[in-house]
C-alpha cells in the first residue's frame, strides 16, 4: 500500500443545518460526502466528477483538511491524518497543495505575485538555495509567466495567467499531491488547453499526483488515469478512465457521458442520447435506497429501499448499483 500517496476510506462529511434565531436547533444534516473511498498512486491523476451538489468539492476540501471529516479515514503517505490538529498538519501542508477554480478570488489583490508565490517559503520556514526571489522567478518561468513580472499585482494578469500564478504557488514547495478544484472551468477554451497541458507537464517533471475535481467530463477524461463518479455524496462508479468512458456500467455514468455534447455534428446527429428526467434531488433530502433512483430509467423496487454497496467488479473498478449495465 506504500505506493499510494492518498487513500480515502469511507470518508464522510456531514454538515448540520440549523434553524436560525436564539433557540437554534439542529434541523437535519446535509450529507455532502457520504462514504467516499478512493486511492491515488504516486504520479497518478484521479478525476472526481459529478454535477453540482454531488459533494466533489467538499470531498476535495476535506482531503485538504479544510473541513474536519465526520467519519472515515484520510491516509496520506501511509499516515492517518483524519483527525490531526492544525499543528500536527503543518508538516503535511507543504506536501499537499490546492488549486482553486477562481484564480482571482484566491489571490490576495494587495500582494505582488512575488509575495504570493514566495509566501509558502516563509510559512514553512524554508530557505530555497539562491534566495526566495530567485526561486519565485524560476517558478514563474516554469509555469509560463514572464519572471520580470514578479512585482506585478494579480489584477494585471488575465484569467489564464492568474491560474498559472495559483499553480506556481501550489508547486513552490514541491508537494506530492495537488488537489485541483475545477482549475480550468473559469477559463476560455483556448486558455483551458494551455493550463491542462501545463498541469500535464508539471506532473511529468515533478512526479505529482493530482486529485482533479471537475464537472467537465471531457477535461477529466483527458487528464485522469482513473475517474470517480459522484452523485449526491456517494460514489456511483470508479474505474480506470479508459474502461469507464468506453463501457460505463452505472446507469448514471452512462447518462452523464451521454449528456456531454461532442463537438462533431455528424456524430451528434446519429448518436442515441439518454435523456435523464427531472433535476437533482436536494442534498438536504436525498431519496431513500439508491440516491439515483428518482432519475434512473432502470429503477426497480429494490432501488427505492436498499442502498447499493460499492462492489469491485474488475481490478480498480467499483460499482454501486443493483442493476448495472
Amino acid at each position: 500500500m506504500a505506493e499510494n500517496i492518498l487513500e480515502l476510506h469511507d470518508l464522510k462529511k456531514h454538515f448540520p443545518t440549523t434553524s436560525g434565531g436564539l433557540f437554534s436547533r439542529r434541523k437535519g444534516v446535509v450529507k455532502a460526502v457520504d462514504g467516499v473511498s478512493l486511492s491515488i498512486g504516486v504520479g497518478e491523476t484521479v478525476g472526481l466528477v459529478g454535477e453540482s451538489g454531488c459533494g466533489k468539492t467538499t470531498a476535495g476540501r476535506t482531503v485538504m483538511k479544510l473541513y474536519e471529516p465526520t467519519d472515515g479515514k484520510i491516509i496520506f503517505q501511509g499516515e492517518d491524518i483524519s483527525h490531526y490538529s492544525r499543528k500536527q498538519m503543518m508538516p503535511f501542508r507543504s506536501q499537499m497543495q490546492m488549486i482553486f477554480q477562481d484564480p482571482f478570488a484566491s489571490l490576495n489583490p494587495r500582494h505582488t505575485v512575488g509575495t504570493i508565490v514566495g509566501a509558502s517559503y516563509d510559512i514553512h520556514g524554508i530557505k530555497p538555495a539562491g534566495g526566495v526571489e530567485n526561486a519565485v522567478r524560476d517558478l514563474l518561468e516554469r509555469v509560463g509567466l514572464n519572471p520580470e513580472h514578479i512585482n506585478r499585482f494579480p489584477h494585471e494578469f488575465s484569467g489564464g495567467q492568474r491560474q498559472r500564478i495559483g499553480i506556481a504557488r501550489a508547486i513552490a514547495l514541491r508537494p506530492k499531491l495537488i488537489v485541483a478544484d475545477e482549475p480550468v472551468s473559469a477559463l476560455d477554451v483556448s486558455i483551458q488547453a494551455q493550463v491542462v497541458n501545463l498541469l500535464d507537464d508539471l506532473q511529468q517533471e515533478f512526479g505529482l499526483s493530482y486529485l482533479f475535481v471537475a464537472h467537465d467530463l471531457s477535461v477529466v477524461q483527458h487528464i485522469s488515469d482513473r475517474v470517480v463518479v459522484m452523485y449526491l455524496g456517494k460514489v456511483m462508479e470508479s474505474a480506470p478512465t479508459e474502461s469507464l468512458f468506453a463501457k460505463p456500467r452505472h446507469p448514471y455514468t452512462k447518462a452523464l457521458l451521454s449528456a456531454v455534447p461532442i463537438p462533431d455534428p455528424r456524430l451528434e446527429r446519429t448518436r442515441e442520447r439518454i435523456l435523464l428526467q427531472g433535476d437533482l434531488p436536494s442534498p438536504m433530502n436525498p431519496p431513500a435506497g439508491c440516491v439515483f433512483n428518482t432519475r434512473c430509467w432502470k429503477v426497480q423496487d429494490k432501488c427505492r429501499s436498499v442502498v447499493p454497496e460499492p462492489v469491485q467488479i474488475a481490478p480498480n473498478h467499483t460499482l454501486a448499483c443493483h442493476f448495472p449495465e
Partner: protein, 349 residues
Amino acid sequence: MSTFLEVKNLHVTFPTEDGAVLASNNVSYSVALGETLAIVGESGSGKSVANLAVMGLHNPHRTQISGEAILHLPEGPIDVLSAAPETVRRLRGKAMSMIFQDPMSALHPFYTIGNQIAEAWALYNEGSKEDGIKRAVEMLDLVGIPDAAKRVHEYPHQFSGGMRQRVMIAMALVNNPSLLIADEPTTALDVTVQSQILRLLADLQKEFNMAVILITHDLGVVAEVADRVSVMYSGRIVESAAIDEIFYNSTHPYTRGLLNSIPRVDNHGKGTRLRAIPGQPPSLISVPKGCAFAARCEFISHVPGGLCIASNPDLLEKAPDHYSRCHLTGAQVIDIAAKNLAHQDNGAK
C-alpha cells in the same frame, strides 16, 4: 426559409477612461425563420454585445452603436438600430425575445413566476390578471414544468436551476416571438439538465418556426443544435458557414485552433497533449492594425511579407456560402492543416 434578422456592419463601442472599447467590429450575420444560428466565441469576442445591440438592451448613454439590424416583420422590414427606442421596445418580447445565462439572477426574486410571465403577456394582449395566469400555466406546461397550475404561484428561488431556465423560456415565448436570442442558456446548468434544455429549445423552435440565435462558447453545444455557425474573435466575425463546413472544412486558423484545443469524451486522451492556442486575445482598446489573431496564429509563416501584421483580411466567400477572414485561401488553410496534423502524428510516433 425566409430571412428574419439581417445584421449589417454592426459596430458597438463602449467609451471608457482607458479608451474606446470596440466590442463589436463590423459584424454582419443573418438568421431565417426555423433556423438556428450559433455565434461562437470566447469571452470578450463580442458575441453577446452584438445581440444585446439588436435587442436594444445597451445603455444608450454609455454605448455607441452604428450599422443596421433589419427585422423582416410581416408588416414590412424595420431597422431596429435606427428606429425610435419606443418602437424597438414594442418589438421586444413580441417580435424578438432573449434568454440569459444565469436563470437565477434573471428572474425577479420578489414576484411569483406567474406574475412575471403574465406581465409579459399583458403587454401585448388584452385580458384580465386571471387570463394572464391561465396563459402562464399553459406556457409552463409547454416547457415541461410538472404541476404547473400550482407552481405558477411560486417564487424563482423555489425552482431548481434547470426549472428556472424553463421558466425563462416560457416567459420569452409567451407572445410567440419570431426570433429567440439565447445567450449561453445552458452554461450555468449541469450537463444532464443542459441536454434537456437544448432538446426543449429545439422542439419549441420547430413548433413555433422561430429563428434562434444561440450564443455559446461550447462547440459541443453548437454541434448538437446549430444549422449555421459564425465564429467571433476579438469583436469580429472570422468565419461563417453551415455547421458541417465549420467542423470539417474550416478555412480559418482560429476555428481550427479552437476545435483542436478541446478534449473530447469520445477519444481517450491521457498522455496526448491538447493542441492549445498559444497566447491570449488582444485588448479591445488597442485593436491591432492587422489580423487580430496574427500573434497566435500557427499559419502565419505561410503568408508572405508580414501581410497578417500589416493588414486585416476581409471576410470573403472562400467556398459557396462559406465566409472566412484570412489572407490564405480556403484550400491553403485546409492543405496546411492536413500537413500539420500529419507532421504531428509522425512526431508522436
